[in-house]
């Protein structure tokens, strides 16, 4: 991919402008507000994760950024180009890996790539070289003459990835890039994504796998009900919204009175109990470890105790109040 990247000549106008700038974006479907005064900015060269439960407005936002849907109000610029006024220029800069891969199953891998090259006006003299390099990158060159309909889910994703890069886009949008693929393909796709960042490309990623967002994203925006709820690096999100998680296990279930006391210790923002296992999320600088141990050991034997950072999933639940797959 580096060989291809070295040949990339970016003619992106308005140098210095963010990769994506969304201001006061609003989208209404009749009376329903799908996106509400959303403002966000994706910097050039970063991997930006857009997370939110189903129906949060994530897809509507992406559709507006890619020109598939028109905003009711607000503005979107991609590398300084206004998507509403100059959608064609924006489309040239955008590479898309949709969730459903959108491959032509009756065409071979090579024919899919050639068709994409025609749609994006890739120069004929460079076409063969680029396709060969990209198919080699995703380890599908040997299968170039096979119908894409015969590929496994992972292979289709890799081919969709190669295809999205064929016209050397500055911004790559990935919608659930590893949904339903095997572990090997998932790690391969993560590596390709990291390579894109190394080349200075901007990646906009939506995913339901928080582990994936944690691994790849420089910043994560969490949206729900069309509004931006949180935006930061994965680490800072965990620090800000999660604090510390204390996991405890006892030899016997605790009484209701003790559980109530634990729940109401100062700084405890979340409390979960599953049989003899307890999990307490503590916000801010409060330390409740000593108080928790004394309350628990007063009526049971403590078998395990750990203190850890919260997972992104716990942060997500803390912010949105719902599971990602709701």
């Amino acid at each position: 991919m580096e060989a291809i990247a070295s040949k990339t000549v970016t003619q992106v106008q308005k140098q210095g402008s963010p990769a994506i700038e969304v201001k006061q974006l609003r989208k209404m479907f009749k009376d329903f507000v799908a996106v509400d005064s959303l403002t966000l900015s994706v910097e050039r060269g970063e991997i930006y994760g857009l997370l939110g439960p189903n129906g949060s407005g994530k897809t509507t936002t992406i559709n507006m950024i890619s020109g598939l849907s028109k905003p009711t109000a607000g503005s979107i610029t991609v590398f300084g180009q206004d998507i509403v006024h100059d959608p064609r220029s924006v489309r040239k800069l955008l590479g898309s890996i949709p969730q459903e891969t959108a491959l032509y199953e009756e065409l071979t891998a090579w024919q899919n790539m050639v068709f994409h090259a025609e749609l994006y006006n890739v120069p004929r003299k460079e076409r063969e070289e680029r396709i060969t390099a990209l198919l080699n990158l995703v380890e599908l060159f040997d299968r170039r003459n096979s119908l894409s309909g015969t590929f496994s889910g992972g292979m289709k994703r890799r081919l969709a990835f190669a295809r999205a890069l064929l016209h050397q886009p500055e911004l790559v949008y990935m919608d659930e890039p590893t949904l339903g693929v095997d572990v090997q393909s998932r790690h391969a796709l993560w590596n390709y994504t990291r390579d894109l960042k190394k080349q200075g490309k901007t990646v906009l990623l939506t995913t339901n796998y928080l582990e994936e967002a944690n691994e790849l994203c420089d910043r994560i925006a969490i949206i729900d009900h069309g509004k931006l709820l949180a935006l930061d690096t994965p680490t800072r999100l965990k620090q800000t919204y999660g604090g510390t998680v204390i996991d405890l296990e006892t030899d016997k279930p605790l009484s209701a009175a003790t559980l109530e006391k634990l729940k109401h210790l100062p700084g405890v923002s979340q409390f979960r109990q599953d049989g003899v296992a307890l999990s307490m999320t503590v916000s801010g600088e409060q330390s409740v470890m000593a108080d928790a141990i004394s309350l628990v050991t007063a009526e049971a034997r403590l078998t395990t105790i750990t203190q850890r950072e919260p997972s992104l999933n716990e942060v997500f639940i803390a912010i949105t109040g719902s599971q990602l797959r709701d």
Binding site: G67, L68, R91, L94, E100, Y104, F115
Partner: protein, 371 residues
């Protein structure tokens, strides 16, 4: 500008080639667009053959020359399939439902005729089918008149003086066969383009098309072109059946090709429109049939609509198939079935093509992809 034109041309070609490749990998749908018009042809032939001549038993009890001439007049009437047989056999056949009528020529036919006596010809009718029954009721008096005109030319003083508009008569089957070519183009274009468009939505590959910087006009024209090329193959197959098997050759091959090329984009574009709106092949196939069949029957498939007159004629004039059938009849038989000239018909078809392409491209909106 030239650069953009070159890019658009490449997109058109790429979309057409892609759709042709996809179509060639789904032979079942290609078979439908060939088989449906051929089935129509067979169906209409069966109608024509079964409805044309009424099977009629003639029991001739008089071996005389006038009686023979009467039988000959029946054969020349183009209404009977004459079966000369005995009274017993005729009775058995009419009871079994194998024949429509028994015409019995009395043994004294020649003698009575020569003597100028009244002759009664008994006709037994199986009046189960009013169409055949009326054929017999009309054709027997006509046979008597034509028999008289031939046997006694001096006695029948009223004669018809026929002036034909065209050099040759056109039989029912050659007329129908040409109309069926139009159904092949209509169905082929709509099904091919409609399915190709619907599958883009079914498999969500429409995103690959509409997220690209290619213009939707180029994409749409490419899809119409792809459908046109596949339809051209299926229409050629139907033309071969018409020319080689039914022995209905066109008077002007160039006209056939030209009219087909004007008509195919109309129905290709309508197919793209239908596919864009319905987004499902399961819906495209029945809707294409539902749209095409009434259009076909309305548009003068069985004869010029002006013969019927009234509302049918007015509605027919609003459909491209009306002008298409007229154009093809001209290419094959040299006559014009519409009040407008063939050149005007072709111009109208061209107008339909431009309109259909415009409307379907307008409907192919990028925003149609977003859920």
């Amino acid at each position: 500008m030239f650069e953009q034109l070159g890019y658009d041309t490449r997109v058109i070609w790429a979309c057409a080639v892609k759709d042709i490749r996809s179509a060639l990998r789904t032979p079942a749908s290609n078979l439908i667009i060939i088989l449906v018009p051929i089935n129509f042809l067979i169906l209409e032939l069966l109608f024509a053959l079964s409805g044309a001549l009424a099977p009629t038993a003639v029991v001739n009890n008089d071996p005389g020359p006038y009686a023979q001439q009467f039988v000959q007049a029946m054969q020349n009437a183009h209404s009977f399939r004459v079966i000369q047989t005995t009274a017993e056999e005729a009775q058995r056949e009419i009871t079994a439902g194998d024949i429509v009528a028994i015409v019995t020529i009395p043994a004294s036919f020649d003698d009575d005729l020569t003597a100028g006596r009244q002759i009664t010809i008994p006709v037994t009718l199986n009046n189960l089918n009013v169409d055949f029954t009326n054929d017999i009721r009309r054709a027997i008096p006509l046979t008597i008149t034509s028999f008289y005109a031939k046997a006694f030319p001096g006695q029948v003083v009223v004669q018809m003086s026929e002036h034909d508009l065209y050099a040759q008569d056109t039989d029912y089957v050659p007329y129908l066969a040409v109309s069926v070519l139009v159904i092949a183009i209509m169905l082929g274009g709509m099904l091919q383009a409609g399915n190709n468009m619907a599958i883009e939505y079914e498999r969500e590959t429409i995103k690959e098309l509409l997220l690209s910087p290619a213009s939707r006009w180029a994409i749409q024209v490419g899809k119409v072109l792809g459908a046109l090329m596949v339809t051209a193959l299926s229409t050629t197959a139907v033309i071969l059946v018409v020319v080689a098997i039914l022995q209905v050759p066109p008077l002007n091959w160039l006209e056939v090709i030209a009219y087909a090329l004007v008509m195919m984009p109309i129905f290709g574009a309508i197919g793209v429109l239908v596919g864009t709106l319905l987004r499902s092949r399961r819906a495209v196939i029945p809707l294409s049939l539902v749209l095409v069949l009434p259009l076909f029957f309305l548009s003068g498939a069985f004869g010029p609509t002006s013969f019927g007159g009234g509302a049918t004629d007015v509605v027919a004039k609003l459909t491209p198939s009306y002008y298409g059938i007229a154009a093809f009849q001209h290419a094959f038989h040299g006559f014009t079935t519409t009040p407008t000239s063939t050149a005007t018909n072709v111009l109208i078809l061209f107008g339909f093509a431009v309109l259909a392409v415009l409307v379907s491209a307008l409907m192919l909106r990028r925003t149609s992809v977003a859920h």
